[in-house]
């Protein structure tokens, strides 16, 4: 084993790439600061939009403006963290178009793992911070009957939420092998999923509730945990008890993601040249 040490473990190349990406983002401090500010503004404006709607109503989908903080905080924190880790996979279409994806194929590492570890979008940390602040306000402002099981629920929901969104990014990437021009279509999976996750699912009619509750299960990210923590019953088909099945929803998304990814990679013919 001793002679293997200089080469490091199997993870060393990924860590090296990630380290270099982090360094490169900090190499141009002004540009990085602008990016951080834009990302902060996105978080603030998204919150302002939610607040403006709830400010005009007494309750929406059974939630009032204080309870909305939990919904917004959980969904946006999960999405922002997933975006930091794997959000850059939506540049896959550019790699395919430019033919640079072929270089990834030459390296003796799994393609998906390379793509995920090819970048880390630190600028989105500011958006995650906005979400974390809102979530904290929601956890303090609401009358939650805290018990150890609720703490487990809150933590497992956040982790499942990150996994669900990360899986949706991989689904979108898998589809991009077929739809090189269709980044807006695949965006409706990821950004549309995030937008749907931050709404109270009770406002959705039957087909949309089935879509976001089970097919693309973003209701598990924030809405179900929120009503479970608040002790609300939840609408038809989405009872609060389902909140505990977040990890199962994440598993389902990742089965779809890896299937779509595999189909996409098999479809890929190379850039030529």
């Amino acid at each position: 084993m001793a002679e293997l040490a200089p080469y490091g473990s199997r993870l060393t190349p990924y860590v090296a790439v990630l380290r270099s990406r982090m360094r490169s983002q900090r190499a141009y401090p002004l540009s990085f600061a602008t990016d951080l500010f834009s990302s902060l503004l996105i978080g603030v404006v998204e919150f302002a939009e939610m607040w403006l709607i709830y400010h005009n109503v007494t309750a929406l989908g059974g939630l009032n403006s204080t309870q909305m903080l939990l919904l917004f905080g959980l969904s946006n924190l999960s999405f922002a963290l997933a975006q930091i880790a794997v959000g850059h996979t939506d540049t896959l279409a550019t790699y395919i178009r430019m033919g640079t994806l072929d270089a990834f194929h030459l390296r003796p590492q799994p393609l998906l793992l390379q793509l995920i570890t090819s970048d880390v979008s630190l600028r989105r940390l500011s958006r995650a911070t906005v979400a974390a602040v809102v979530l904290t306000a929601g956890l303090i402002g609401n009358d939650i009957d805290w018990s150890p099981t609720y703490i487990v629920l809150a933590v497992s929901s956040t982790l499942s939420g990150i996994a669900i969104f990360a899986g949706l990014f991989v689904c979108a990437a898998g589809l991009q092998f077929h739809l090189v021009d269709g980044s807006e279509l695949t965006n409706s999976f990821t950004y549309g999923g995030s937008f749907a996750a931050q709404q109270p699912s009770a406002v959705f009619s039957g087909p949309l509730r089935a879509l976001f509750g089970f097919a693309i299960p973003v209701s598990f990210v924030a809405y179900l945990p929120t009503i479970a923590l608040l002790g609300l019953p939840g609408p038809a088909w989405l009872p609060a008890g389902l909140a505990w099945f977040g990890p199962l929803a994440a598993l389902w998304v990742w089965i779809m993601a890896l299937t779509l990814w595999r189909i996409g990679v098999r479809h890929y013919q190379g850039g030529g040249g």
């Binding site: 500010f37 400010h55 005009n56 929406l60 739809l179 980044s183 549309g192 709404q199």
Partner: protein, 268 residues
């Protein structure tokens, strides 16, 4: 004069055809419009039904707001890929554009209006159709909103393209305009009333919004087209659009004049 209008109509046609050739991308955008439209309509209709006097909206009229704004979004080009000229300023290719015996601002405006007309037809009309099929959109029964609405939509697209042109020209001074374009996208869509209608803003924020050109990109034309703003209110929307178009043309020209002095192209 006739030769000149011939050039512009050809540029318009070229812009239209280029967008037509990227139909698959346009339809992908349509899919996104429909997904976001369905989510927004569900939320806003639930909100309007639960609260009487929701910014003057009812369950039926908020549906029109959602679907008409989704229909216009693609043609306004505030989201999606950057404007051609942004890349040309960055690479210095804009020097070629500046040499052409045609006004650079109107050159791009004519081409982009062609592209946006194609987007409006391929992406806007189906979005409206989706609203009608899901019975979330009720169109006005009289003729005037359609006529004034059409004028207002064309004016909104023109204003949006002129503003984007000016934002892209900032590349003469900043090397990378991604950050500034991002900032513009966030602020313009918010103040245009894309996610939340301006009628729901608290008074100071609504006043601040109306001091910018952005409400006339979306909220104004949507109000005219849906029959919320009629008569003198509709004419005042169109009047404000004309005023802002004049200002945007002025800003663009000032930036071109200043940028021409700043531009330095390497190599030979």
């Amino acid at each position: 004069m006739r030769a000149l209008s011939g050039v512009y109509s050809r540029l318009f046609g070229a812009g239209f055809r280029r967008q037509w050739n990227y139909r698959s991308a346009v339809f992908a955008g349509l899919a996104a419009n429909v997904v976001f439209g369905l989510i927004r309509a569900a939320v806003m209709i639930a909100a309007a039904r639960s609260t009487p006097g929701f910014g003057g909206y009812t369950g039926a009229s908020i549906g029109a707001y959602v679907w008409l704004s989704q229909a216009m979004l693609g043609a306004l080009r505030v989201m999606g890929p950057p404007h051609d000229i942004a890349e040309r300023v960055r690479t210095g290719d804009v020097a070629v554009d500046l040499q052409r015996p045609i006004d650079i601002q109107f050159f791009y405006l004519a081409t982009d209006l062609g592209g946006s007309s194609c987007t409006l037809a391929l992406r806007g009309l189906p979005s409206v159709a989706t609203g009608l099929i899901t019975a979330q959109l009720v169109l006005p029964g009289t003729f005037a909103p359609y006529l004034l609405g059409a004028v207002s939509v064309v004016a909104a697209v023109t204003l949006s393209l002129l503003l984007l042109f000016s934002v892209s020209l900032l590349g003469f001074w900043l090397i990378e305009t991604r950050g500034i374009r991002m900032l513009y996208q966030i602020l313009s869509t918010f103040f245009a009333g894309l996610y939340v209608p301006i009628h729901l803003f608290p008074a100071p924020l609504a006043t601040a919004a109306r001091l910018t050109p952005f409400p006339w990109l979306l909220q104004g034309p949507v109000d005219v087209l849906s029959g919320r703003a009629t008569g003198s209110a509709a004419w005042s929307v169109i009047g404000m659009q004309m005023l802002w178009i004049a200002i945007a043309i002025g800003i663009g020209r000032t930036l071109i004049a200043a940028g021409r002095r700043k531009l330095e192209v390497q190599g030979g």
